[in-house]
Amino acid sequence: MARRAGAPEVNAGSMADIAFLLLIFFLVTTTIETDAGLDRMLPPIEPPDTDVVIKQKNIFQVNINKNGQLLADEELIDLKQLRAKATAFLDNGGDGSCTYCKGRKNSDSSDNPTKAIISLKNDRETKYGTYITVQNELVGAYNDLRNREAQRLFGRDFTDMEAEYLNPETAQSIKDDLKDKVKRIQDLFPQKLSEAETSSSN
């Protein structure tokens, strides 16, 4: 009779308690967060070999002073108007060479989106928050235009396509397909955002 009983069972009742203890420890220490922000490329420090002459009308000057006031193309404007103004400047297509532009074709504004440059200058005492808002609005202007073109050509938003392209979980075949599309849209409205050094006088 004793043979049938076999080895006595180990009491595993406290295993749950131990596991709970560990679980609570990791629960408390976990921070599930992915950082997000505005991506920017700084210009390389070596000056370009040749001086490039840029027409004044192809430059959109944005100045921020230390009080957070905004001067865009020599006009004092509110921050909320900046996106519309930048969009109008980029989308102008003054010399008629831009087939997809829907701007007013004003001859005093930019010739072509590929030539249009936005120049950003700020004071040393400008608040960082204001600076980010301005950056956000300028990036927003580019994204609006790129979304418009992406909708026309591929029927979906550019930001959506780019996010999927950058997502490491996307399959390689989809990525290859998206790469060309993203590149094509980026070439239509290349992001040319120049940042002057704060201390320089011009």
Binding site: L23, D35, L38, G68, K127, Y128, T198, S199
Partner: protein, 160 residues
């Protein structure tokens, strides 16, 4: 007869809790894998600005962090209330940024060294002067890819 009457006692059998450890272990493994231990404690105030045209910063192993902001209460007596740079665990001057980037870059594996991003976690009340000093230092060491880390939200809230 007593053999049968035992079975008919009418009480419900207790719910088996044998699978409870399995469930808990499953949760445990989930949290263990997603946990990232904090490696540096913040010595500066770090309320990031808001922005909505943001991109996610994937792959944490390719990111170098720089914190900027006012020293927190306990450090204000020593370091004052002007905005400071924090690299790893200590306060630093703008001139130290270049060396820090080079040191961090050297720690990463060869194939990652060219694709590193510098994440600037800057308090929204910091002045741009300090930021442009940092940017100048970053350009000197050719760390041109930067990410202004922000919260997701309405950008105009920064102005208040």
């Amino acid at each position: 007869m007593s053999k049968f009457s035992k079975k008919k006692s009418g009480e419900l059998p207790p719910v088996s809790t044998a699978s409870l450890p399995d469930i808990v272990f499953m949760l445990l493994f989930f949290f263990m894998t997603v946990t990232v231990m904090k490696d540096s404690s913040l010595k500066v105030e770090n309320v990031l600005p808001n922005a909505n045209e943001i991109k996610k910063l994937e792959k944490k192993d390719r990111v170098i962090y720089i914190y900027v902001g006012k020293p927190t209460q306990e450090y204000q007596k020593v370091f004052g209330t002007e905005s400071k740079i924090q690299l790893n665990d200590k306060f630093a001057n703008p001139s130290d940024v270049g060396d820090y980037i080079l040191a961090e870059r050297a720690k990463k594996s060869q194939e990652l060294q060219n694709v590193l991003t510098t994440a600037l976690k800057v308090d929204k009340n910091a002045n741009m002067g300090l930021i442009s000093d940092i940017k100048q230092e970053l350009r000197k060491v050719n760390a041109l890819k930067v990410n202004y880390t922000t919260y997701e939200g309405d950008a105009f809230r920064n102005l208040q």
